[in-house]
């Protein structure tokens, strides 16, 4: 068990090392209903979300080509975030689905949405409330890897988890 945990930790750390979540500056709130995408900077953002030793700092779920199934290797991560949401009723996340660059931009936007939606489903099954989650898609528009090869495409078939205020 210890060995498995150790391996998991190494995997987590290496995953965290390659992970970049761009910082965003925001102020003000959207009028009307509460929207996660447009929320204000939260000074009370829990530091454990950024702690590289905590599984909650792992924020990316990767997908196979033309697939939107959450693979087993990402179940632990998704469940950890779901539990955090369950335990912190005020916390909210934005799930941003992504697709590789091949094909129609609008169709890829819809594919990215499927990838965000499947992470949302996994989270709600693990106890998060639907109202805490907004699943959106960036399609092929915000590639993390900008190459035109299989390695870049694989990197871009991804859903990112961003907490409100980040």
């Amino acid at each position: 068990m210890k060995r498995i945990l150790g391996a998991l930790l190494v995997g987590l750390l290496s995953a965290c090392a390659s992970q970049t979540i761009p910082p965003t500056i925001e102020s003000g709130t959207e009028s009307g209903s509460a929207r996660i995408a447009n929320t204000s900077l939260d000074p009370n953002l829990n530091p454990i979300l950024k702690d590289p030793n905590n599984i909650l700092s792992k924020r990316s779920v990767y997908f196979d080509y033309d697939s939107f199934m959450v693979k087993n290797e990402y179940r632990t991560t998704v469940q950890a975030h779901a539990q955090y949401l369950r335990d912190n009723a005020a916390a909210k996340v934005l799930l941003q689905g992504n697709a590789d660059e091949r094909g129609s931009r609008e169709y890829n936007l819809a594919l990215g949405q499927k990838r965000a939606d499947s992470v949302r489903s996994a989270m709600t099954l693990s106890g998060a409330k639907d109202s805490q989650i907004e699943a959106v898609s960036l399609g092929e528009e915000k590639p993390r890897a900008t190459g035109h090869d299989e390695a870049s495409w694989a990197e871009n078939r991804r859903t990112d988890i961003r907490y409100q205020g980040e």
Binding site: E26, G28, R35, L94, S104, K114, D117
Partner: protein
């Protein structure tokens, strides 16, 4: 089908221009978050938007035409003849005949045997005279060389800074007279330019000149769609961490979010009467097609499937929508009726291959253009709605976003050369292909605007 000889009509035309650049600001002061979330561009680093236009292929039956430089145009800031000639040549339907010699303004001075021996079937003469009030009087005659008769004549008075527009109008008149089709030289196109990490939604004349940025952001913009009257453009912006559909009025620059629901909002398409938009929302799960009024009110679900329904496009009569759906396991094009309620009923239109996307009706409603994956390539194709016959028009690697010209003679699309996005135009029979490239930056997401609302002869 495609002429591979790369038969340059007269070599690449290199046009240089310095576009007027406008920095667009929000009209919604309450949304401070927008200002901070996006980085406005530096005015000192405008995108160089000069267009190179290259013409490949071309049918054998091009009309030989001679255009004698207009009398008096050398005294003006901008010539007219060169613009008219470039327009006609770009259409792929004309061949320019040597027109050297003295300029004339009176049809009685025409030496027909000379023009006949040069091989011209049609001849254009004209004049451009500055009036005392600073405006310019432009007039021309279009003559049939063989019959030695006048086909048409036209005179207009235009402000000095509208000479290019006058030239496009002349080209339209000549085109219509000689081909029987509506000319599209006075239309405009919209597209998105990406330069480093900046995005601009631009509008330009159909020849690429007079490019102006409608909006500029540090976040992506996709899917511009012209309102049927050409006064507004709907588009999708990612400036707020997710896709939101905006409608912007060109004249005032005012804009409004018409679809900003929970989840993703995208793929705007105007109804032919300009009163409604079809949009794609993930609001109720999946990506589904909804109708919304042009002011953002009156949301109504239209499609009903468990998967992806996207890229809606209205038929010219407004009765049906064609769209991309993966309901059959792979993305294919379907057609559904626009009714008062959500429906899962749709007729599949494409059957060849495993990837057919981005459908746009032809303006006559008889067919549609779309992107077909052909092996490893993504190409522009057209399909006839009655016969179901499919024709592949291009053979490049990555073609996207086909948009038909208002006269259905050409299709504007995005393609790629050496990893850089450019625009290209292919004739609807696939015989003529032109590449339109912008000097710097990646250009994509083209949309050909409607015919201008003005009094035609």
């Amino acid at each position: 089908m495609m002429n591979k000889s790369h038969d340059y009509l007269s070599g690449p035309l290199v046009n240089t221009m310095k576009p007027g650049f406008m920095l667009v600001r929000h009209r919604q002061p309450t949304r401070c978050s927008l200002f901070l979330a996006l980085v406005l561009w530096s005015i000192s680093a405008p995108i160089q938007a000069a267009l190179d236009i290259e013409i490949f292929g071309g049918g054998a039956s091009r009309i030989p035409i001679a255009i004698i430089p207009f009398v008096g145009e050398e005294k003006l800031k901008h010539g007219i003849t060169a613009v008219v000639a470039a327009d006609l040549q770009r259409s792929g339907l004309f061949r320019l005949v040597d027109s050297s010699g003295p300029s004339i303004r009176d049809p009685r001075q025409i030496a027909y045997p000379d023009w006949k021996s040069r091989g011209a079937n049609a001849l254009v003469i004209g004049s451009a005279v500055m009036l005392p009030d600073g405006q310019v009087e432009v007039g021309f005659y279009l003559m049939d060389v063989a019959k030695q008769v006048q086909l048409t004549e036209y005179t207009m008075i235009v402000p000095a800074d509208r000479l290019r527009a006058a030239a496009h109008q002349i080209a339209d008149i000549i085109y219509e007279k000689l081909t029987g089709d509506v000319g599209v030289f006075s239309t405009r196109i919209a597209y998105v330019v990406k330069q480093s990490n900046k995005y601009a939604l631009q509008v330009a004349d159909a020849d690429g000149f007079n490019a102006q940025s409608i909006i500029e952001y540090s976040e992506p913009i996709i899917s511009p769609a012209w309102s049927p009257d050409g006064t507004q453009i709907a588009y999708v912006s990612f400036e707020n961490k997710k896709p939101i559909v905006y409608v912007q009025t060109l004249a005032t620059r005012a804009r409004k979010a018409v679809a900003n629901f929970k989840g993703s909002n995208s793929a705007p398409a105007w109804s032919p009467d300009g009163k409604r938009l079809a949009v794609v929302l993930s609001l109720q799960g999946g990506s589904q097609i909804f109708l919304v009024n042009a002011d953002g009110s009156g949301l109504q679900r239209l499609s009903q499937s468990s998967g992806i329904d996207t890229e809606p496009n209205f038929s010219p009569d407004g009765q049906t929508i064609i769209f991309t759906s993966d309901r059959g396991g792979s993305p294919q094009i379907y057609r559904m009726a626009v009714t008062g309620s959500a429906s899962g009923a749709a007729e599949r239109l494409t059957f060849e291959g495993s990837y057919n996307v981005s459908p746009h009706h032809s303006r006559d409603g008889r067919g549609f253009t779309f992107i077909h994956r052909n092996g490893a390539n993504f190409n522009v194709a057209v399909q006839d709605l009655a016969t179901r016959q499919v024709q592949l028009l291009t053979d490049s690697r990555f073609d996207e976003s086909p948009s038909p010209a208002p006269n259905d003679r050409m299709i504007l699309y995005a393609t790629e050369i050496k990893g850089r996005g450019i625009l290209a135009v292919v004739s609807s029979d696939g015989k003529t292909r032109q590449e339109i490239s912008i000097q710097a930056g990646d250009i994509r997401e083209p949309a050909w605007g409607p015919l201008p609302k003005k009094i035609r002869r």
